[in-house]
């Protein structure tokens, strides 16, 4: 009798840690008198995490197909700088944005070529690519922030639809919807799951594994570039220091959300929850005015805790077979 009730609850706890933890934060915050529950804060919460969410979407696609892309921070930085520089030199905004996105796609294609066709370790190659792009960003800007001179560029991220919804959030929502649709309902997306789940099987099932997997890197490059352009528009400047810490942050948020590094498991929506969880966590900490070093400690412990619990749940499952 009892197990009938406890089993599902146990299952939820073992399978959906990020949403549960998020819910707990929401509930906890009810008991504190903070401005957490204000429209301003909640919109800001979504708005300020939007660029990360956009990056996380492409990152998820790569992970699902069994790769990893640690160069997203570098792509973000450089594409934002390219957009600003082009616009400042008089190129029209759509063209500049397009060039930036193409740049992201090109870096993704190089990553894809090296890791998929040349069969190298994506973890290391994209790490190296990130280092390279940091240098490119610094060289492009001589390590100084450059300001956007065309005020229209700011509207890309900051325009308020109906006076409430920032354009950045809209772009994020569109990206999320596209990637969710891509992964769930297109044959490309399902092929990604197959490739990540079992590369050999996918190959023998007639899936064009090489181009498909390469395309995931291109998508990751594109979303990172979109995020970079939106970030630059949001803050109306470009600097080589943006995106410095993005890759591992996104990676741990996505994994906390439940997308597996091993490939084939997870999804865009889970990544959304993972990123929002860490975003909400630090927002709640800020609202509670928790000391920033303690915050850092707690965030670290949360990451360790959630991933450890995940591993532990799998271990228990393995051992009770």
């Amino acid at each position: 009798m009892n197990t009938k009730i406890t089993e599902p609850i146990k299952n939820i706890f073992s399978a959906q840690k990020a949403p549960i933890a998020m819910l707990l934060i929401f509930i906890t915050m009810l008991f504190f008198k903070t401005p957490f529950y204000t429209r301003y804060n909640l919109i800001d919460l979504i708005n300020s995490n939007s660029t990360l969410l956009i990056v996380a979407m492409g990152f998820t696609v790569v992970l699902v197909a069994g790769g990893v892309d640690l160069s997203v921070g570098g792509v973000m930085t450089v594409s934002g700088i390219i957009a600003i520089k082009l616009i400042n030199s008089g190129v029209s905004i759509p063209v500049a944005v397009l060039v930036s996105i193409l740049f992201g796609a090109a870096i993704g294609a190089i990553n894809g070529y090296l890791t998929v066709y040349q069969n190298t370790e994506p973890f290391i190659i994209t790490l190296g690519m990130g280092v390279l792009l940091t240098g490119v960003a610094q060289e492009l800007t001589t390590a100084r922030p450059i300001s956007g001179e065309n005020p229209a560029f700011q509207n890309l991220a900051n325009y308020k639809l109906f006076g409430v919804v920032p354009a950045l959030v809209l772009v994020m929502i569109v990206t999320v919807i596209v990637v969710v649709w891509l992964l769930r309902s297109t044959s490309f997306g399902r092929n990604c799951y197959a490739i990540g789940g079992d590369y050999e099987v996918a190959k023998y099932s007639g899936i064009n594994v090489l181009p498909t997997k390469t395309l995931t890197f291109v998508i990751s490059g594109v979303t990172a570039a979109i995020a970079g352009v939106m970030l630059s528009s949001w803050v109306n400047s470009g600097n080589s220091t943006y995106g410095d810490q993005t890759a591992l942050y996104i990676a741990s948020a996505v994994v906390v959300g439940g997308t597996s590094f091993a490939g084939g498991i997870g999804g865009a929506f889970k990544s959304l929850l993972g990123v929002m969880f860490i975003g909400i966590l630090s927002n709640a900490f800020n609202m509670l005015n928790i000391d920033s070093y303690i915050q850092q400690l707690l965030v670290g412990l949360f990451i360790v805790g959630i991933i450890w619990l995940d591993c532990y749940a799998r271990k228990v499952k393995r051992e009770t077979v």
Binding site: P19, F26, T38, Y40, D44, S48, V235, T241, L273
Partner: protein, 319 residues
Amino acid sequence: MNKFKLLSILMLIAVMLSACGGGAAATEAPAEGGNNTLVFIPGSASNPSQAFGFKMFQKHAAEYNFDVSMLDGKADVAEQTKAINNAVAQGADVIIVNPNDALAIVPAMKAAQEAGVVVGIFMAAAAPGDSTFFVAVDDKQAGGVVVQGILDLFPDGATGVEIGGQAGHPAAIDRHDGFTTALADHPEIKVLDYQNPQQWDAAMAQAIAEDMVTKYGDEIQFVFCHWDNGATGVINALKAAGMEDVLVFGVDGNAVAFEQVQSWKNYNSIGQNVETIAMKSMEIANLFLAKDASAKFDNIVPFDLITKDTFGNFTPPEW
């Protein structure tokens, strides 16, 4: 999958409910106990000068009737923008920011000002309109002080190197620009090389200094390093090469600087008195809160030039 959906929907409902329940942006929270709230947002709470700055805000908060708290900029522009917005959400009366990137946080600061918050820039310059005011030493002036110091020791001119601060950091940029500008009038002083490390990391400064020492050897008569902790690395490099006579300039005037002024033959530090800047920030903020017409946008705090002759006049700070 269904449980998953259920949970997501639950959460969405929670968000909706709360969004409806809450009021509009940044309602003027009535200050508790009559004190105004001040939120300090450093570029990074891990940066020692900023951590010390926060301590100084806390130390003197009562004198200026502030309740002080800190939100971390986490050495990232997006994070710092988030922090500014969080501070606005908290209903802060005053936000004091030490920017990671002078340009990138402008939109957030403007939004904050529109919401009626007094926004001060701490230890960095700003353009009018971007913030309500700023309080800083003039980093550009630091360059001039260095040039003067070099001329004091080498009246006929000298050759040396410059080691910058964190690539892309506003303070590093201003210090470099000020130095370059001041040098334009003094062709007798030649800078052989200029490099930026990736971070405010003494080990990186030391590696750069060591390689410069190898390359230029005794041509190096002075080293301008953008921060005193980095200068520690520079001194190590010089020591190892036996170049004990080189003039070293640092910026900050922290405890390390006081130590180095005493232990190194020619060490000068351009001290920025964080405590003074913090107090000044609160003072100016109060003027703006009181809508006092005498409140100025730009508030330059003079340097403390710390040398062998002058260090006795100052008390070494705790950082």
